[in-house]
């Protein structure tokens, strides 16, 4: 079975602090994808990043960075020098590889989300 755990329910930081959001996943698939989505107060889900299971390279995009470690089944997300606009709910998600006509549907399995509050 597939499962995603985001143990941190809520995190509160002061602007300019660095913050790491944890994500641990479980899957028996050898090919899978990991995602992070942001849900600001307006409610829409905003795609942030996708990684596949064969690519463990860490990725940096501006103030955002992601650390993927298969050995610990983790895909953590760090925001450097946080800003008030980063306040949102962040979801980590897992999917298998969609194969048309098979039971691999590519559906997203989401963690429970981490609410990040960045105070000025």
């Amino acid at each position: 079975a597939q499962k995603v755990t985001q143990a941190q329910t809520e995190i509160s930081v002061v602007e300019k602090e660095d913050v790491t959001l944890d994500c641990v996943y479980e899957t028996r698939d050898t090919t899978y994808y990991l995602f992070w989505y942001k849900q600001p107060p307006s409610g829409e889900l905003v795609f942030l990043i996708r990684r596949n299971s064969f690519d463990e390279q860490n990725e940096i995009s501006g103030r955002y960075s992601w650390n993927f470690q298969k050995s610990t089944s983790s895909f953590n997300f760090t925001i450097t020098a946080s800003q008030v606009v980063d306040s949102a709910v962040y979801f980590c998600a897992l999917s298998n590889l969609l194969v048309i006509g098979s039971s691999n549907t590519g559906k997203l399995i989401f963690g429970q989300g981490t609410t990040l509050q960045v105070k000025p």
Binding site: G43, L45, R50, N52, A93, L98, K107
Partner: protein, 116 residues
């Protein structure tokens, strides 16, 4: 439109009534997903459509829930005899598998359903 659209944006109904929620996927996207976001359950998968293949209904919580996708495009999620626990935001997503090795899903703005 460029993105996934959903209607209505908000729906308030009385317990026991039937409701229909609509999703217009991105043009050309053959895969369509419904998810539900509720306070108690987080974000959970409901149903998946891909072209003419049989849908994956494994996430539907009860037989009061059904969905169809006509002409491989627009989808309607129907909830019969609504209950208060059906109150949630219903999200639709579409993707275009086959254009890459990944399956990026683009989400609509959601329909907020409140059952009184």
């Amino acid at each position: 439109g460029a993105g996934v659209s959903q209607s209505p944006s908000n729906k308030v109904t009385e317990k026991g009534k039937d409701v229909e929620l609509r999703c217009d996927p991105i043009s050309g996207h053959t895969a369509l997903y419904w998810y539900r976001q509720s306070l108690g359950q987080g974000l959970e998968f409901l149903i998946y459509f891909q072209g003419n293949s049989a849908p994956d209904k494994s996430g539907l919580p009860s037989d009061r829930f059904s969905a169809e996708r006509t002409g491989g495009s627009v989808s309607t999620l129907t909830i019969q005899r609504t209950q208060q626990e059906d109150s949630a935001v219903y999200l639709c997503a579409s993707s275009s598998p086959g254009k890459g090795f990944y399956n990026e899903q683009f989400f609509g703005p959601g329909t907020r359903l409140t059952v009184l």
